[in-house]
């Protein structure tokens, strides 16, 4: 029985990783065509990629966008999670629902809404609008991760600090925040990862000056297909895997499953 399960899972794993492995493999082809299996090994498309400014620019943009939105989302997420856990305001359930709504509401819907709305308020293609959208998209992950870490902490430590004479801000800064550090780092990396690979909303609303890496890849692929995109994808996979490994060490992946 167990053996059967293991066999099944091996097949399943193969199914799950096959396209990714194939793309990475494809990035080493020396020819312009996609032929599986590749006959020899070459770094030609990586060289091509690094001499291609547009991809590099997009990568920087994605990096910047990811860092800013992850930072903002972590900060907002911490404040919100703190308010929800310690304040238990009326309608806390509805508020949590709102903060995590971007998980349920289809990204296309939000993309359309942002496309139309940024035009309405005259911020179409503005970087801050893009940041705002990315913060909205990643906020659910930050709130959830930090909610878990705050709930795990309990209020006693803060009470202890306050009974020793600390004001709330001191208690939060000196006790709660340091103890949430692991959660903060996880939330940050998580948000970065999501923002870094977000394509749908960005495709709809980002102005011409802001083509993130995934959008650049999407545009590139709709226009031409050569192994350059396999190379850039392989690099993105590499970065993602590295981040995921860090996240895994931090035990943060468990927070997604709720």
């Amino acid at each position: 029985m167990r053996r059967l399960l293991t066999l099944f899972n091996l097949l399943m794993v193969a199914y799950v990783v096959a396209p990714i492995v194939l793309v990475v493999w494809m990035s080493f082809t020396p020819t312009m065509l996609f032929e599986v299996p590749i006959r020899s090994f070459s770094l030609r498309w990586y060289e091509e990629l690094f001499s291609y400014d547009a991809f590099i620019d997009s990568a920087w943009l994605s990096l910047r966008l990811g860092l800013i939105s992850a930072l903002a989302a972590t900060a907002l997420g911490f404040l919100a999670a703190y308010g929800l856990v310690r304040g238990r305001p009326p309608g806390a359930g509805a508020l949590l629902g709102l903060f995590t709504a971007p998980l349920i509401v289809p990204a296309v819907v939000y993309g359309i809404a942002m496309l139309q709305f940024t035009n309405l308020v005259g911020l179409y293609g503005a970087f801050p609008a893009l940041v705002a959208a990315h913060v909205v998209i990643v906020l659910p992950f930050a709130v959830r991760t930090l909610l878990a870490s705050l709930e795990g902490q309990g209020p006693e430590l803060e009470w202890a600090a306050m009974s020793l004479g600390a004001r709330r801000r001191h208690a939060v800064l000196l006790v709660t925040l340091p103890l949430c550090l692991r959660g903060m780092v996880s939330a940050f990396l998580f948000c970065f990862l999501i923002s870094f690979s977000e394509v749908t909303v960005t495709l709809f609303m980002a102005g011409p000056a802001h083509q993130t890496l995934p959008v650049r890849i999407f545009n590139y692929v709709s226009d031409r297909i050569d192994p350059t995109m396999a190379a850039v994808s392989a690099l993105v996979v590499l970065v993602s895997v590295a981040l995921v490994l860090v996240l895994n060490r931090l035990g943060a992946l468990a927070a997604v499953r709720k």
Binding site: E156, A161, M162, S163, L164, G165, L174
Partner: protein, 359 residues
């Protein structure tokens, strides 16, 4: 700070959570320097009371005074209270010394003065030299003592202990209890202990308040409570008890003759309001019941058969079926005078040990 110890006066305290009233009009006055325990089963409102005093919760009614100051609306950080939590609530990211020094830092005690005070506090709880450790490197008992040091280093007006020993295993609890008893004498801080453990309460306290369902049932010194419980709840809560209900006969000079079906009649101090013919309840602690072999039954003894024996190490509990009742008796475990299940025994008692209780 650090002057003469202050007392606590809680007057008609009320705290509701939605529809339930957790604290229902409590009046408690703790004398300066006193070690006062609030005792009660879980859910009786004792922790809520403690949190009201600490300032973690705000009362829905009533007032709290510490010393001369009315602190009912004062924020927690302004109350100068030492608080020891059930789970210690040590800051896991700080060393022991940083934990203990936290309150001093918050009080802006100059850095130079903090060191000696931290050292002194750690010395008081016999943890000198542990300042550089992390809480996670300490045993439960040591963590407990750090929590204590952290609470007393700020020289609080009032020390609040929330079931401080309940997370320790039996032996450690015994040690900590005696240590607390020592500390109590050395520090002289007004202390309120909240617990459900009678031994803890009795071995440490000057006075104890027994709580039930948000109200104080009785306040008094431990022996007073044990010997003269105000009612059946207090009597039963403080330990196993024989509770007999009978009928009042003649009352003379404050002493009533009470008739118990199946037992002999007894002379009991009459409660105010008893009349001839009334139902009366008296209690008798098991250790006051004497057991002898049935053959050696004295006058007034009741003969019965042992139907349950429980050995507790230093004590033996017996249940005797006699006169249609189950009588509980406790005797020291000794080589002699042991009885076995089914033995016929005579049960005797002194009427002076009977305490009348209100229903």
């Amino acid at each position: 700070m650090g002057g003469a110890p202050a007392g606590l006066e809680a007057r008609s305290l009320v705290k509701r959570f939605g529809a339930t009233t957790a604290v229902d009009g409590i009046d408690i006055a703790v004398r300066p320097g006193e070690f006062f325990t609030v005792l009660g089963p879980s859910g009786c409102g004792k922790t809520t009371f403690l949190r009201l005093v600490a300032g973690i919760l705000a009362p829905d009614g009533g007032s709290i005074r510490i010393g001369a100051a009315d602190l009912t609306q004062a924020p927690i950080w302004a109350r100068n209270i030492g608080l020891v939590f059930q789970n210690y609530a040590l800051f896991p990211h700080m060393t022991v010394a940083q934990n203990v020094g936290f309150g001093l830092a918050m009080r802006r005690v100059p850095r130079a003065d903090r060191g000696p005070r931290i050292a002194r506090a750690l010395e008081t709880v016999r943890l000198d030299g542990y300042g550089g450790r992390r809480p996670s490197e300490l045993s439960g008992g040591q963590q407990q003592r750090v929590a204590l040091a952290r609470a007393i280093v700020i020289e609080p007006d009032l020390l609040l202990l929330d079931e401080p020993l309940s997370n320790l295993d039996a032996r450690l609890r015994e040690d900590m209890r005696s240590e607390l008893a020592d500390l109590k004498h050395r520090l002289g801080i007004t202390t309120i202990l909240v617990t459900h453990d009678i031994h803890e309460a009795f071995s440490l306290s000057d006075r104890v308040a027994v709580m039930r369902a948000g109200r104080v049932e009785q306040v008094g010194a431990p022996t007073e409570l044990y010997e003269l419980p105000a009612n059946r709840f207090v009597a039963g809560f403080l330990g196993p008890v024989n509770e007999w209900t009978g009928r009042v006969g003649a009352i003379a000079d404050g002493t009533a003759e009470v008739e118990f079906a199946g037992l002999r009649s007894c002379r009991v101090p009459a409660l105010a309001g008893w009349r001839g013919g009334d139902e009366a309840t008296v209690i008798l602690r098991p250790e006051r019941l004497g057991l002898t072999a049935a053959s050696a039954a004295g006058e007034g003894a009741v003969v019965g058969r042992i139907d349950q024996v429980a050995h507790l190490g230093n004590l033996v509990n017996y249940r005797v079926a006699a006169g249609g009742r189950a009588l509980l008796a406790q005797a020291p475990a000794g080589r002699t005078g042991r009885f076995a299940l089914g033995d016929r025994v005579a049960v005797a008692w002194d009427d002076a040990d009977l305490a009348p209780v209100a229903p």
